[in-house]
């Protein structure tokens, strides 16, 4: 995979649709990849949401038919991860002092503690992770079911094939370890069904 000086993928399989609205500061190191689902039904609705001046998004968007769009430079940060979970807790290696402080169970405080660490002691964050969005709704539609009870739809075979190709090539080109590729709810407090059917 060839990456231009601007951080754009030069490959016929990746369509360039860079959205300046979701790019933040320069990303000087890349240590991981985070896989998401959009919560919307189409790529168009995601692009529409990116038009908002304060929009948050990720670096790539994979449509249901497997089309890959690059939506941000891989050398720019995007706000796709949210507050980090404590990695030591997920990997059962917290010190007694850390376990005691984590019992307060406050996402903002937990994130602040994690941010002081460097990867791989913490999970990849907005500072150093590439985000890949898969188009996919959380169902059922509408407001008759509270948002926290919704379940993300199954990732399509075409999306999984495109995801495998993209992760393999990004990892090889940017030197990202296979151990540092995560589903969004593995590293941040998000609906556990998000990207649960993604395979790479």
């Amino acid at each position: 995979m060839i990456i231009s000086e601007n951080g754009e993928i030069v490959d016929g399989r990746v369509l360039g649709r860079i959205q300046k609205s979701i790019e933040r500061g320069q990303m000087s190191s890349i240590v991981g990849i985070v896989v998401h689902q959009t919560g919307s039904s189409s790529a168009d609705s995601t692009f529409h949401s990116y038009a908002n001046a304060s929009a948050n998004g990720a670096h790539f968007l994979i449509d249901k038919d497997g089309t890959i769009y690059q939506t941000a430079s891989v050398y720019r940060k995007t706000a796709h991860v949210g507050r980090l979970k404590a990695r030591c807790l997920a990997e059962h290696r917290c010190s007694p002092a850390e376990i005691k402080s984590l019992k307060a169970f406050n996402p903002a405080a937990e994130h602040a503690k994690e941010k002081k660490k460097t990867a791989p002691d913490r999970f990849p964050s907005n500072e150093d992770a590439i985000g890949i969005e898969l188009v996919g709704e959380a169902l059922p539609r509408g407001n008759h079911v509270p948002d926290h009870k919704k379940v993300y739809e199954t990732v399509t075979p075409s999306q999984n094939e495109a995801l495998q190709w993209l992760i393999r090539n990004l990892s090889q080109t940017l030197g990202i370890s296979a151990q540092e590729v995560f589903r969004h709810p593995d590293i941040s407090r998000k609906n556990h069904t998000e990207a649960s059917t993604a395979q790479w």
């Binding site: 933040r24 998401h36 959009t38 919560g39 919307s40 949401s49 908002n52 001046a53 304060s54 929009a55 948050n56 706000a79 949210g82 507050r83 807790l89 997920a90 169970f105 406050n106 996402p107 903002a108 994130h111 907005n126 959380a138 509408g142 407001n143 008759h144 509270p146 948002d147 926290h148 009870k149 919704k150 379940v151 709810p185 941040s188 407090r189 998000k190 609906n191 556990h192 069904t193 998000e194």
Partner: protein, 145 residues
């Protein structure tokens, strides 16, 4: 005077329901874009589910025993809540396995259902109106986190 009356008539036609939006605050790295909502005065709040743990939760999550709301804390939540998009409700705010739900009646005679989660998000559906996703940036009181 005529212009003012025309403006007021046009405004009331644009804002037909109790959840009229006015001012919005932009998204930040960790917070969603939120918009003010104006709810009618609340007459009563009842709780039908409390300290409920989602079946989607994993073993590492809280037991939810400490997420027990009262009618008073729900009133405080609704007073501080702002509307967010459904996409932000799913994607931007922290997801909690712990929730509570119930019913609300308003002094204008309308009724609705509400639900809230431990991380200050929620939903409100008032009869005859589309439901809204809620987030309360300022609800840093127990049992919210």
């Amino acid at each position: 005077m005529v212009r003012i009356l025309v403006f007021l008539a046009a405004t009331s036609a644009i804002i037909p329901n109790a959840l009229a939006k006015t001012e919005c605050a932009p998204a930040t790295e960790f917070e969603p874009r939120t918009c003010l909502i104006h709810l009618p005065q609340i007459r009563s709040v009842t709780i039908t589910e409390n300290a409920r743990r989602s079946p989607l939760a994993t073993d590492a999550d809280s037991t939810c025993k400490d997420f027990a709301v009262t009618a008073r804390t729900v009133r405080r939540f609704l007073a501080g809540a702002r509307e967010i998009s459904q996409q932000d409700a799913l994607h931007a705010v922290d997801w909690s396995p712990c929730s509570a739900a119930g019913e609300v009646s308003f002094k204008d005679g309308k009724r609705g259902t509400w639900s809230v989660t431990q991380y200050r998000s929620g939903n409100l559906v008032i009869e005859g109106e589309p439901g809204v996703s809620l987030y309360c940036p300022t609800c840093h009181f127990k049992p919210f986190r």
